[in-house]
Symmetry: C2
Subunit: 247 residues, 2 copies
C-alpha cells in the first residue's frame, strides 16, 4: 500500500463543485469512481480544497492510498482512461504515508480571468467573465494592493469550518493584461474563505467601474461585519496551484 498525490485539472462547468455529494456529479466523486474501476476500495480520497460549482482547476490536489504494482506512470494512464473528458490527472507521484493535501498545504493560488466588451462573445466567455461598462484599468492594481498581507477577510468570504477564523494572509494579488486583451487577477494566500476570490474580484471591478472607492474596500477589510453581496461568476475562476513546503 502506498499513498499517491495527484494534480487534477477540470472544466468546472460540468461539475457541481469538487466535493463529493450523494447523487451529484462532483470532481471527488468521479475520481473515486475511476479508482474503484481499478479495484480501489477505500472510503474516500483526500482533497486539498473545495471549489464551487462551475469553478475550474488546473492545479487541484488529491491523495489516496492504493495498492498498485505497475508503476506511477501506468497508474496515471489507467486513471485517465477511466475519467471523463472534463477531468484529468495532470501529474501523479508516490508520496509519504502521512501526506495530507489539505492540512499540509502552505498556499493556494487562483487566477480570475475577465475581459471588457459590450457585446457577448460566446467563445471567450467560456472561461472568462465579460465585464461592461469598461474598466478604468489603472484602478485595478491599487485595489489589489489593499488585499496584501494579513487581514480579517470576513467581508469577503464565509469561514470554512464552523468556528474557524476569517483571518487570512494574502501573499500575491496581481493584475496582468494578456496578449489577447484579457485581464487576469492572480491571487495567492495561505488559504481562502468560501467564495473569497470571487468577492475580491467583484469589488475590484466595482472600483474600476467607479461604483465604489478604494476607501470602501479598506473599510470592508477593517470592519468585517457583513459579507459583501457582489460575486463574480464562477466560470472566470481557476485554481492553478496548491503549494507544499517540502515540494
Amino acid at each position: 500500500m502506498a499513498r499517491y498525490q495527484v494534480i487534477l485539472a477540470y472544466d468546472g462547468s460540468g461539475f457541481q463543485g469538487s466535493q463529493r455529494q450523494v447523487k451529484i456529479r462532483t470532481v471527488q466523486g468521479e475520481l473515486e469512481n475511476s479508482l474503484r474501476q481499478l479495484g480501489w476500495s477505500a472510503k474516500s480520497v483526500l482533497m486539498a480544497g473545495r471549489t464551487d460549482t462551475g469553478v475550474h482547476a488546473t492545479g487541484q490536489v488529491a491523495a489516496f492510498d492504493f495498492e498498485w504494482a505497475h508503476g506511477s506512470s501506468q497508474l496515471l494512464k489507467a486513471l485517465n482512461a477511466h475519467l471523463p473528458p472534463d477531468l484529468a490527472i495532470q501529474n501523479l507521484t508516490e508520496t509519504s504515508a502521512d501526506f495530507h493535501p489539505r492540512f499540509d498545504a502552505s498556499a493556494r493560488r487562483y487566477v480570475y480571468k475577465l475581459f471588457c466588451d459590450p457585446i457577448r462573445r460566446p467563445l471567450r466567455e467560456k472561461l472568462a467573465w465579460r465585464v461592461w461598462p469598461a474598466l478604468n484599468e489603472e484602478a485595478l492594481q491599487p485595489a489589489a494592493d489593499l488585499f496584501l498581507g494579513t487581514h480579517d477577510f470576513g467581508s469577503f468570504g464565509s469561514r470554512t469550518t464552523p468556528n474557524g477564523t476569517t483571518v487570512r494572509k494574502v501573499t500575491k494579488a496581481e493584475w496582468k493584461k494578456m496578449p489577447n486583451g484579457e485581464w487576469q487577477f492572480e491571487v495567492q494566500a495561505d488559504a481562502f474563505l468560501y467564495r473569497m476570490v470571487r468577492r475580491m474580484t467583484f469589488v475590484q471591478v466595482a472600483v474600476a467601474q467607479g461604483r465604489c472607492s478604494l476607501e470602501d474596500v479598506r473599510k470592508a477589510l477593517s470592519t468585517p461585519t457583513a459579507l459583501l453581496s457582489g460575486l463574480a461568476p464562477a466560470h472566470g475562476l481557476t485554481l492553478i496551484e496548491v503549494t507544499y513546503e517540502s515540494h
Copy 2:
C-alpha cells in the same frame, strides 16, 4: 423593409451545425427564433456557409429582410437579448437589398487550433485538438504550402452542390505558434468543400508525425480519386471571416 447583414459568433459544441433542420438545434434555427420574437415573419434567413456540428465561428455571416424602426444598434441588442448564451451577433449593419451572404462572398477564412501533449488538458481541449505523438513542427508549413493555389481538392472534401466542382483556390495556408504553445493553422480560400479544412489539418499532422510524406499530399492533390479518411475533430475549428469584395 431593409436587408440586414450580421456577423455571428457561436460555440459550436451545443449546435448540430449551422444550417436549419427540423427539430434540431442549429445556429440558423436559433437566429430565426430570435427574429420571430421581434415580429419577423419571413421564411428564412440567408447564411454565408454551412459549418458542421461542433465547429465554432466568430465570423459567420447571415442576412435577412426586416421592418425595424429603432435603428441598427437597438436591433443588435434586441436580437442578442433573445439569442442563447452560446450564440451572439457581433456586428449588424444595413446592407443593399440584393446582398447575398453566400453568393457574394469572395473568400472564407478558418483557423484550426491544436497543441501537442501526451496528457489530457480539459480546459485547453475545449477549443483545440490535443495531438500526440509530438509533431515535427518544421514539417507543418512545407505541407501547408502544397495547398496554396488552385487545385482539385476532391480528396479533401465533398462537393457542396450535387454537380458542383471540387476545384478551389487557396490564398492563405499558414501555421503560427501562439504564445501559449498552441499551433494555429489559418487557411483562406474562395470557398471550401465539406470538411475540407479538417482533412487538410489531419493530413498535415500525419506528415508532421511521420505517418505520411509530402509526396503523399502532392499525390492526393494531383489525383483526387477518393476522399482521404482522416478527419481532425470539429472542436478545433473556427470560421473566423467571410470576405466580400465591396466591403
